[in-house]
């Protein structure tokens, strides 16, 4: 029982990342009709916003410590962050410790700006072009973005730990009435799940309850009509792209303590998030979220040793197998609308 609850938690956690990326992807599909292969790169850029922010906080000047030597036997150079000079070492180090959550504040404007720039500068000119051209240009962009990151940060993963307070795990099972030690779960993963739920709820509320959201939803349903009504839908779509970029970026920022970010993490997630979006159904936001969590949970269960003993290698293919079964039984995914990206 504990094992099952643990895997459900793991599934929800994996699902959170899938759902957040897929949400932005399907928003762009739905509103703009653009196949955005650079969406994974946005997730990666978000993660590197956290890295950059943390590096900025640790901008240092060098002090030579004559008492110690480095590996070549020269006097050791010690880096002292400027922030220590400003706030003192105690406060300074705790600010650095909290770099990841703090970098949300940094990532939101950066990602929105990036998203808007991308839409205005590039994507906008591809609305009327065939999907094939959209794929080529966004794929090119994704490569360029990740190569730029590689140039500055290298290919190696960069450890970006959570604040000290959230490192490690706690006994989640006791809260549910299980024996101690039964369900131990990392703090940060729960935070990630709650954060994802919060963002998803926020996006839905925004689309549901604001006039802006109403127009965008109408635009998703029928772009022509809304344009005829004289509403400047293009401008709203630009903002929508910015929001989608920010959602992907935030998903990336918060993901960094779970897995150290590297430059190709976006590509790793790209294919999976496409599968999630399509399984959820093109143009359906709830579908994307549902499919994200569903695939996350199924993947978690498929990786259990008990399952693998019966079906060796099922963990390798489970996501794709589920995708095939879903698409064959439900022609437009779980909640897809007719006619979206079917030709």
């Amino acid at each position: 029982m504990e094992a099952i609850i643990l895997q459900v938690l793991n599934g929800l956690d994996k699902g959170s990342a899938y759902a957040l990326i897929a949400l932005g992807l399907t928003l762009i599909f739905g509103t703009l009709g653009v196949v955005n292969f650079a969406h994974g790169a946005l997730f990666m850029l978000g993660a590197f916003c956290a890295v950059t922010f943390s590096n900025l906080l640790q901008l240092s000047h060098t002090v030579i410590d004559e008492t110690r030597t480095d590996f070549l036997g020269n006097p050791l150079k010690v880096d002292v962050p400027y922030i220590y000079d400003i706030f003192g070492e105690a406060v300074g180090s705790s600010i650095i410790d909290w770099a990841v959550p703090l970098s949300i504040l940094f990532a939101i404007p950066v990602m929105i700006a990036l998203g808007v720039a991308m839409e205005r500068g590039l994507i906008r000119h591809f609305y009327k072009r065939p999907h094939a051209d959209q794929i080529l240009v966004t794929f090119g962009l994704a490569i360029v973005l990740q190569e730029i990151i590689k140039y500055f940060y290298g290919a190696n993963p960069i450890p970006t730990p959570a604040p000290e307070a959230f490192v490690g795990s706690f006994d989640f099972g006791v809260m549910l009435g299980f024996d101690p030690g039964g369900i131990v779960y990392p703090y940060w993963r729960l935070i990630y799940f709650l954060f994802a739920a919060f963002i998803i709820a926020g996006v839905f509320a925004f689309l549901q309850f604001t006039t802006f959201g109403m127009v965008v939803r109408a635009g998703m349903a029928d772009r022509e009509t809304v344009t005829l009504l004289g509403i400047d839908i293009d401008k709203r779509f630009t903002i929508m792209f910015g929001i989608a970029a920010a959602v992907a970026g935030l998903a990336g920022v918060m993901y960094t303590p779970i897995n150290s970010p590297n430059y190709h993490m976006g590509m790793d997630f790209l294919v999976l998030s496409f599968v999630v979006v399509v399984v959820g159904g093109m143009g359906s936001l709830p579908g994307a979220v549902l499919a994200g969590f569903l695939l996350g949970i199924i993947e978690a269960f498929a990786s259990m040793a008990q399952v693998l003993d019966i079906l060796p290698g099922i963990n390798q293919i489970i996501i794709y197998l589920v995708a095939i079964v879903v698409l064959l039984t439900r022609p437009r995914g779980l909640m897809g609308r007719k006619g979206v990206m079917e030709d």
Binding site: A132, V137, F139, A142, M282, G313, Q316, L321, I324, L328
Partner: protein, 421 residues
């Protein structure tokens, strides 16, 4: 009117008589001309691709060595086949590398079990890839649009994952599958212990090369390349025939309007399935040739990036055009193999003529774009091509030709739509 028809698809015939239009091999004059051009280019490739003398600084850009020339034509075949599906029917398969991979495995097993002769191996590749494509196509073609793309992607990723791990005994997994001297090979005489098994065509070793020296120039004529090139010419010829055939017209009709096709008494599904299987067999041929040229198979050739690569090749060159996919394939393979090999030391030798400080600056500016940064250049070029040449490289070529012809081009008004070459 007659002038117009030469510029439009595919009616290279005139209104006077359907038999008119010249050309040989059942091709129209214009197609035959294109075919001749491709023949000339492939046959002369060892010379054309080695324009720079050995030991010169520019020799780095020479691409006329067997491995890369083989890759050009083999991936050309792959892209030609993909274009039959994507360019004609508009169905975007995101899992075509699976057929290439499955074909390769079939090819190497034919060499392990039957004979080192490449012909049975290539036939086995095409057959097995065709069968696999029939299965995948039959299931995936139940859906269209992006749903179809994801279904094909899912099949390919499952193939990759299984080949890399669970199926290691038959695929070699991570280390790939290679020939051994002790493989059974029932049709061949046994090899000496330690002897290297080499793919051959009735005793003619694929690796056999002959060098022509001409001053400082060296040109390598390689048996394997010419065999692969011969296969590509056949593949290209068949693709022209398919494009111009009733079948090809139906495939374009599928892309244009499936609804009308249904109400014209034609069932689109068998047409798309046939196109899918044909392009799967092209992929199988490419896979078989890869094995014939270089007797090993790695599972990575089925990874989704490999499927994505052929999509990019086709779009980059010009989807739906005859020659575009081949150009796209050459373009990407050139970058992968030539630009990736330019390192800092090479750059310094190029710019050694500059004053020291300036040399360092120039090298520092170029270095991020070559060598380990070759992906960056490739990405930038993808974007540049699609932004400035919406019809791919073929359109770029046409624009270039158009510039030269502008003077006498007053009466050519009908080329508003994308031509087929």
């Amino acid at each position: 009117m007659t002038d117009q028809t030469t510029d439009t698809i595919p009616a290279a015939t005139t209104s006077a008589s359907p038999k008119a239009g010249g050309g040989l091999l059942g091709l129209t004059k214009k197609d035959f001309g294109l075919f001749l051009l491709v023949i000339a280019l492939t046959m002369l490739a060892p010379f054309l691709l080695n324009p720079f003398p050995e030991n010169s600084a520019m020799a780095q850009f020479n691409a006329g060595y067997p491995d890369l020339m083989q890759r050009f034509v083999i991936f050309g075949i792959f892209a030609i086949g993909f274009n039959i599906l994507f360019g004609l029917t508009g169905y975007l398969s995101f899992g075509h590398a699976a057929f290439l991979g499955v074909g390769s495995y079939a090819g190497i097993w034919a060499m392990k079990l039957l004979t080192l002769n490449v012909i049975p191996s290539i036939l086995a590749s095409m057959l097995v890839a065709g069968l696999f494509a029939t299965l995948v196509g039959f299931i995936s073609l139940r859906r269209s649009g992006i749903y179809f793309s994801i279904l094909t992607l899912a099949f390919a990723m499952m193939s990759f994952a299984l080949a890399y791990s669970v199926l290691t005994p038959i695929t070699g997994g991570e280390t790939g599958m290679q020939l051994q001297y002790f493989d059974p090979r029932i049709l061949d005489a046994a090899l000496e212990p330690g002897q290297t098994p080499r793919a051959n065509l009735f005793g003619l070793d694929m690796a056999t090369s002959t060098n022509l020296y001409f001053g400082n120039w060296v040109f390598t004529l390689n048996v394997g390349y010419y065999i692969a090139a011969f296969c590509m010419l056949i593949a290209f010829y068949l693709s022209i025939r398919i494009f111009r055939s009733p079948f090809g017209m139906m495939l374009r009709a599928v892309k244009s309007n499936q609804n009308r096709l249904n109400y014209t008494g034609i069932s689109p599904k068998p047409y798309t399935l046939a196109a899918f299987v044909i392009s799967g067999m092209y992929a199988g041929l490419a896979g078989g040739l890869l094995v014939a040229m270089d007797t090993q198979v790695g599972a990575e050739r089925m990874f989704w990036t490999a499927s994505g690569e052929v999509v990019l090749m086709t779009i980059l060159g010009g989807a739906g055009t005859l020659i575009g996919p081949v150009l796209g394939a050459g373009f990407i393979k050139y970058f992968e193999n030539i630009v990736s090999k330019i390192n800092e030391a090479t750059l310094h030798t190029w710019f050694a003529f500059l004053p020291d400080g300036l040399e360092d600056v120039v090298v520092a500016m170029i270095y991020p774009f070559v060598g380990k940064g070759w992906h960056l250049t490739l990405g930038l070029l993808f974007m540049a091509v699609v932004i400035f040449l919406p019809g791919g490289l073929v359109q770029g070529g046409q624009k270039l030709v158009g510039l030269f012809r502008r003077k006498k081009a007053d009466d050519k008004t009908a080329s508003s739509h994308t031509p087929a070459e």
